[in-house]
Symmetry: C2
Subunit: 184 residues, 2 copies
């Protein structure tokens, strides 16, 4: 049931297309054309469609890759840093990275194909959150879904209402204060 390894040029092209897709969909959104991706990757359209039979497949692959990167980053932070700081850092990094690749923000929640990578991300995020709670950096009466939701919401607004860094930081400050308060 194992598929034989790809030919060298095919493997390279696949990686190229994935990189180009990340760039193009990241800046122009999912509506960007497949041809644009092919151009940026320096390959023919036929090649793109051989590797990813459908545009949706390509989008899923790009999204999944991105989700996996975030998941890895979350795990890395969980293993090495002070719990409170790790949580804070991850949250801010996700938000900061959103504008240049809005595609992620738009898919972070879209079950279409990237489901597994998505739930792994959520799980890694959950670990980050629990550690922060155990360390007293985040109050205990909140759960992962709502905190994750806030992160995504702010990420999305980053393209528009929260496009200015100073304003975005203030918004983040409000949320972090809300995640810290003890009363109620």
């Amino acid at each position: 049931m194992t598929t034989r390894p790809l030919r060298a040029d095919a493997r390279d092209n696949r990686a190229r297309i994935l990189r180009a897709g990340t760039e193009v969909f990241g800046t122009e959104g999912p509506a960007a054309s497949t041809e644009e991706v092919a151009r940026r990757a320096g390959v023919g359209i036929g090649t793109v469609f051989r590797h990813f039979p459908t545009k949706q497949d390509l989008l899923n692959a790009v999204f999944t890759t991105r989700l996996e990167q975030l998941r890895d980053r979350a795990r890395e932070l969980a293993a090495a840093t002070d719990p409170g700081e790790a949580f804070d850092t991850f949250f801010r990094e996700v938000v900061a990275g959103a504008p240049s690749k809005l595609a992620i923000a738009e898919s972070l929640t879209d079950p279409t194909g990237a489901a597994e990578a998505g739930s792994e991300l959520r799980e890694a995020f959950g670990v980050l959150l629990e550690r922060a709670q155990a360390a007293g950096a985040v109050r205990r009466d909140v759960a992962a879904p709502e905190v994750f939701g806030l992160m995504i919401g702010i990420s999305r607004a980053t393209r528009s209402a929260l496009s200015e860094a100073a304003v975005r930081d203030k918004a983040l400050g409000v949320v972090f204060d809300g995640l810290t308060t003890r009363h109620r």
Copy 2:
């Protein structure tokens, strides 16, 4: 320089199209086809394009209408209710109304044509916020842009990560706590 009044049927059709546009773009997003709007309005495509020469014009008209409604609601609340409650109510209403008409959330910040209505909304929102601050319901070291941004962010996430009402309420609770805290 005054344009003569529209014929009765034309006026009716225009209103119909606007209503249909609100529904269609609200549920399917700005990518929905003009033909779908025409169908839902019960008119021919030609009629839609006569009233709104461009799809963008139609979108702008729909958005503007929506923004004006929100602006009016903000003013209404500012005039009649307890400052803290008015702010809270408006914030929650906007978020609650977002999923069924994501088009607004997507345009609440888009300068394209709806600029004037947009800034009027922001102004009315600013009044709501300042009143709440004066009444001690919201801390004084936050300004309208970041609070508005939070509202939009949560509105957007409402379609996805914050689609469940219970989760959304918890997220809102966190933000309101953050807007209340006094320390720092």
